[in-house]
Symmetry: D2
Subunit: 147 residues, 4 copies
């Protein structure tokens, strides 16, 4: 299938992303780690530690949703100008199987890209199974020109 | 618009839900509180406390996504037999405005209900603004007959 | 729930829309009629005529999808400047019940509106039942300034 | 990414599908042709003939939506028992670029399959561009046992 050319890909931004460790909020709580960044792709993961489970031994759907939302927007940063902003404006997620333990991995792929918007698909894996699939839209805000 | 009759509504289950306090995982971390339960409706909220914010002062999209996922499934419990299980199988979420502080409130409404599946819409409010809108599908698993 | 103020509503545009009869393509084939237009709302309908049915007596899902797509974008025209363009960029549709005969009615409501984007929800009714529910995003292109 | 095994694939059903010509309703109007069927995959296409275009020379979004809905459900038939029924219960579609002429091609891929439900992704191409991407859920109704 045709994919964008990603001529704007900035490897220096990509290489810096896995080292970002000053997370806050849900990404810090979940312990999200970026493990791979390429032109139009990003992979991140988290450990399904016991405290994330409900009394029935499954992770709350919000765990998967938050990880999906995280890679959906972050995958854009190596593709947009420094100082530009990528905000997920909507996504749709299918939760395919319960998540009990191990590592939850999500991989994002940009399938459409203009100067104002991108469409990204995400697949999530746990215990060798596909546990989630998502498709969403990211709005890109270009940096303000310097005064 | 036509809505289900909700003949199966069990007020005793509904009344017990706001008192549930043994949350785990993301609902515990976010401090989700159920504040209203009715036939086919549920409202829940969380405090947008500073530690939920990113360095730009906004809550991660996963905060809204997790709250939406929570009410999407939970709204079914007063409508299904005791022992049955409601699992969100998919949802679509539009993130409409940044969330900086105050209380984030989400209200779910069941718009379609059969013995096997339900469709639920959710709207989320913060600082008197609509900050999220979602629509999703919940799969209902009937309890196993006793041996 | 909070709704946009719709200060930009242009009643003259709204009043003209039901009289538009030079439809082409799928809207012409389906016989879509706009029956109500208000500030942030639009209702349209079509007759479920026998030739729309498959051999099992149900309308193809594309019938509902096309009607939903039609009102999702069209509801914006009384709200945007003359010469501006409203294009549906994405939507999610739940198909809730089969459609066999009678009139299929869809009502759109704008729940979020900026100068660049709108979010719209749609509910569809047939034979006194809710047969569809949708939520989508419309991108607004402002008219080019005159030279 | 992991995919279902498709052990239930019935090549005889698959081979018969492209020859089905007694279409009705929107598929007949659009002239949808199935061009490839495999284990978990289906490709269909239509000619973007002038009468499908609006006065601005673009195909109505319902054209793409109907084609997507068509392959979303049909791709299941070689995978489910003869006499079973596959009904699209929801899908989300991003419309990525306008469609003016030529052939519109949509390819469906089943990414998750149980006895009751399937999740399918679809990509659509026109003029060497990705013009649509969708993800949806199909509910499978098993055939009634013979009396």
């Amino acid at each position: 299938m045709p994919r964008p050319a990603f001529d704007s890909y900035d490897p220096a931004v990509a290489e810096a992303m896995p080292a970002i460790t000053n997370l806050t909020g849900i990404p810090e709580y979940l312990g999200i780690r970026i493990t791979e960044v390429g032109p139009g792709t990003m992979t991140a993961e988290l450990d399904v530690r016991p405290e994330l489970l409900n009394p029935f031994g499954s992770a709350h759907g919000g765990t998967l949703a938050a990880l999906v939302d995280h890679v959906l927007g972050s995958v854009l940063y190596p593709l947009i100008p420094r100082g530009a902003w990528a905000a997920t404006t909507e996504f749709k997620l299918n939760l395919l199987a319960p998540i009990h333990k191990g590592v939850l991995v999500a991989r994002a792929e940009v399938i459409s890209l203009t100067s104002r918007t991108a469409v990204v698909v995400v697949e999530a894996i746990n215990a060798d199974r596909l546990v989630g699939a998502a498709q969403g839209t990211v709005t890109i805000s270009q940096p303000k020109p310097s005064p």
